[in-house]
């Protein structure tokens, strides 16, 4: 029952063709989105966009300066909360892990990262907004931090685990205490990978909309207090997109272009770090 | 019983050496017997054949040497195996030299056969028999790794030595009594010495076997 080689080769060709087709099907809509964002965004973005706050309904012009600032502030605060927790938690898992409790923590982190972000928003709402009696940038930041923590933790842990055990042992064998070894050898060796994880987590929260809906809420104006509602780019894009006004659609496209550009830059930076690490 | 090697081929190679050595030992025994037979039975033609036979011994020596070298290079033997091979290397030399002694005996036999017999040979065949048994037993001890047997061989050497001295004394009296026998007596004397040397070689082999089995060198310690 020898199956002819020709038949096997035909099958090989056929399957190859199918996979090429799948790839094309995947790429086409993605390319379309990309093209639209660039086309619409480029025609809408201008200096005002970066310096002005949104004009009231009906007026043309305006920008998303307050949204960008708000996003930046909240991301910074979220990072300040989320990154240390993520990294030290990861060090615990990598250095002292192995026992049952760290498996549980690891699992919890994975589950946490899979929870829809809108739920994170709801929790932040009932934990902060309700007791503080008002929407606030702080609540928004905490919600974003909750999203960052598991991402930073898991990527950092993966990176730490990728550091060969013998490297730690090498350091320990030189008579270096465990804590110095953790920070100066293990973490240091994984630094670029950890940076990648951090950048990816920032990229992720920078585009988050849902958790801000009931926390930061959004703001048409500048706000400087952390205890008050604050504008954020994704929120603004959302609100403008579902509005019926052409001019706000324009702003939404411009915002999308800027957001995507920031995102891509972060991703590229992350990839760059990732690459240097591989070498 | 000896445990087998993990590698069947290694075992086979060691066996090959072992068997070649036994074969060589067998041939050497035949040479001893034939050279003595050519003397006792005044069979010059047998003496001739015995002399020619030596090249087979020589050939076996080279073959075994080469095989040992190959095993050393290819198997990196250690401990008992290493001792086995290095001793095989030394033993073949002894066996080959025994062959040389036999050639010497056969040559003298041929010469003696040209002349009238000196006297009936009684002690010489006994000595040859003893030496031959020693060779056989030394080799048996070697291939079997039997140190008891080897010790026995070492002890037997004394018997041959004594016979040799006795023969020498006898021949001396003979020569003194009748100078015309001197030339023949010297040849007989030579043969006796050869047999003694054969026993010596056998003893050397036996001593080395004890080393192989016990891992300690008794050469030069038991007289």
């Amino acid at each position: 029952m020898m199956r002819s080689v020709a038949l096997r080769k035909t099958k090989n060709l056929l399957m190859t063709a199918l996979m090429v087709a799948a790839t094309l099907t995947v790429l086409v809509p993605l390319a379309l989105i990309f093209v639209h964002i660039v086309k619409m965004g480029l025609s809408s973005v201008n200096l005002d966009f970066f310096t002005q706050i949104p004009k009231p309904t009906g007026e043309t012009g305006g920008g998303m300066a307050n949204g960008m600032a708000g996003s930046a502030v909240m991301i910074a605060m979220a990072s300040a909360i989320g990154i240390p927790i993520g990294i030290f938690g990861a060090i615990y898992l990598a250095e002292y892990g192995g026992s049952r409790i760290s498996t549980v923590i690891r699992f919890a982190a994975d589950v946490l990262s899979g929870i829809p972000s809108i739920i994170t928003g709801m929790v932040a709402y009932s934990l902060l907004v309700v007791p503080m009696k008002g929407f606030s940038a702080l609540a928004g930041s905490v919600a974003l931090a909750l999203i960052m923590i598991p991402i930073v933790l898991r990527t950092t842990e993966e990176q730490l685990k990728m550091v060969p055990g013998t490297l730690r042992e090498a350091s320990l064998a030189l008579g270096v205490p465990l804590w110095r070894t953790s920070l100066k050898v293990t973490l240091r060796s994984a630094l670029t990978g950890v940076m990648t994880g951090i950048l990816l987590s920032i990229a992720r929260v920078a585009g988050e909309t849902a958790p801000l809906l009931f926390t930061a809420l959004g703001n048409q104006f500048w706000s400087s207090k952390l205890t008050e509602p604050m504008a954020a780019m994704p929120l603004q894009i959302f609100n403008f997109a579902i509005s019926p006004y052409e001019d706000w659609h324009r702003l939404a496209w411009a915002g999308a272009l800027v957001l995507v550009t920031v995102m891509f830059t972060l991703s590229l930076a992350a990839r760059y770090f990732g690459r240097t690490r591989e070498r | 019983m000896e445990r087998e090697h993990f590698s069947r081929h290694f075992d086979e190679e060691l066996n090959e050496i072992r068997e070649k050595l036994l074969e060589m030992g067998g041939k050497v025994e035949v040479m001893i017997a034939n050279s003595m037979k050519s003397l006792v039975e005044r069979d010059s033609e047998l003496a001739e054949r015995t002399i020619a036979f030596d090249h087979e011994i020589n050939h076996l020596e080279m073959e075994i040497d080469e095989k040992c070298l190959e095993v050393l290079a290819r198997r990196q033997p250690a401990a008992r195996d290493l001792r086995f091979i290095t001793l095989a290397l030394k033993i073949v030399t002894d066996l080959e030299r025994i062959g040389d002694q036999c050639t010497g005996i056969a040559k003298r036999a041929k010469e003696l056969n040209e002349e009238p017999p000196l006297k009936p040979y009684i002690d010489l065949p006994r000595m040859a028999e003893a030496a031959s048994v020693m060779v056989k037993e030394a080799l048996d001890a070697f291939v079997r790794g039997d140190d008891t047997l080897a010790i026995k061989v070492c002890k037997n050497d004394q018997f041959v030595d004594e016979l040799n001295e006795q023969i020498q004394r006898e021949l001396l009296t003979f020569m003194m009594g009748n100078p015309s026998t001197i030339s023949r007596a010297i040849k007989v004397n030579y043969i006796s010495k050869c047999l003694e040397r054969i026993a010596d070689h056998a003893t050397n082999v036996a001593e080395m076997v004890i080393f192989m089995v016990k891992g300690k060198d008794i050469r030069h310690t038991i007289a």
Binding site: I33, L93, Y96, I115, W179, G207 | -
Partner: protein
């Protein structure tokens, strides 16, 4: 026992042992993760208690959602979430696996790398932007071309009946598909890249063609990892909020037709939670959140277990 856990001992000479302090800090941070998760569940459960008490199981089977009347039945949202996610996934899975295989095994290394990079970049685009594109570009296009076409040619099927609204279940399925494809593809790609070269060479050396190699060595090796990727995609689709909210039409109804608008669990929360009219209303929304949380917990747990088994195999069994 002398050797055990020396790092936890007090070092008399230097006062506090550095290792001890360090471990303490990491322990606190690590356990905070667990605390967060528990607090989330506790908080959600606590806040939804009024709704649970009032409606019991009827909350899940009920179809009425009337904030003014105070009756809350979540079935249309469940329906919308399940249908949109499952359909999106059915479309996305073969495409993702196909393109992941293409990227890792078929395309020339550099070309595959470029495609992979593109896919990864697209996975990073925020959902609100997909939503923006969906509502401003895709929905009108669907309304004008695709839906009329479907109605004309397949209108006899219950799935393609009704008027072309644009924003609809179909739009949600499409946008979700477009959004999860990059995720599934990039995880699958990672899984496939983790297939050791030695596995592929083993197949090739047995005289396999490239497809046979993929079928024999690559896909089975990545089997559970790929399944994990798909389930992760499912979790993502179920929880997806913004993009879906923007294109699904936000109408709580159960209809077989893909052309009619629908509603999902995250969408209703996004739309109503900020201005919930009553305690009960917000408790009902919380309960929807709790259901969502439970569903995603299960899905994620499943996906993680599968993905873990892959990594364990790689580190443990690979010799």
């Amino acid at each position: 026992m002398p050797p055990e856990a020396t790092s936890q001992k007090w070092n008399i000479k230097t006062g506090l042992n550095g290792d001890f302090i360090f471990k303490g800090i990491t322990v606190v941070f690590a356990f905070s993760i667990l605390a967060i998760l528990l607090i989330m569940v506790y908080e959600m459960a606590g806040e939804s208690l009024p709704a649970m008490k009032k409606f019991g199981w009827r909350f899940i089977t009920g179809q009425d959602w009337d904030a003014v009347q105070g009756t809350f039945g979540a079935l249309p949202y469940l329906w919308g979430s399940v249908v949109s996610s499952v359909l999106a996934l059915l479309l996305a899975t073969p495409l993702s696996i196909g393109s992941a295989v293409f990227i890792t095994e078929i395309a020339p290394k550099k070309f595959g790398g470029v495609i992979a990079a593109l896919v990864e970049l697209l996975a990073a685009i925020p959902s609100v932007i997909y939503g923006l594109w969906g509502v401003l570009v895709m929905a009108p296009w669907l309304q004008q071309t695709v839906q009329p076409f479907l109605i004309d040619h397949f209108g006899f099927l219950p799935f393609f009946q009704g008027a072309p609204y644009g924003v609809s279940m179909l739009a949600a399925v499409f946008i979700l598909m477009i959004m999860v494809v990059p995720i599934i593809t990039s995880i699958t790609k990672e899984v496939l890249l983790a297939v050791p070269q030695s596995q592929k060479e083993a197949a090739i050396a047995l005289g396999a063609t490239r497809w046979e190699m993929i079928r024999m060595a690559v896909l089975p090796y990545g089997r559970s990892g790929i399944l994990g990727a798909v389930i992760l995609g499912l979790g993502r689709a179920v929880g997806e909020t913004m993009a879906v909210t923007m294109v699904i039409g936000n109408t709580p109804q159960i209809s077989l037709s893909l052309l009619s608008p629908a509603y999902t669990m995250p969408s209703v929360i996004a739309n109503e939670f900020a201005e919930a009219s009553s305690k009960l209303h917000s408790a009902a929304l919380m309960e929807i959140g709790l259901i969502l949380l439970a569903v995603t917990l299960v899905i994620n747990a499943l996906a993680r277990l599968l993905l873990w088994s892959v990594t364990r195999k790689q580190s443990g069994g690979g010799l």
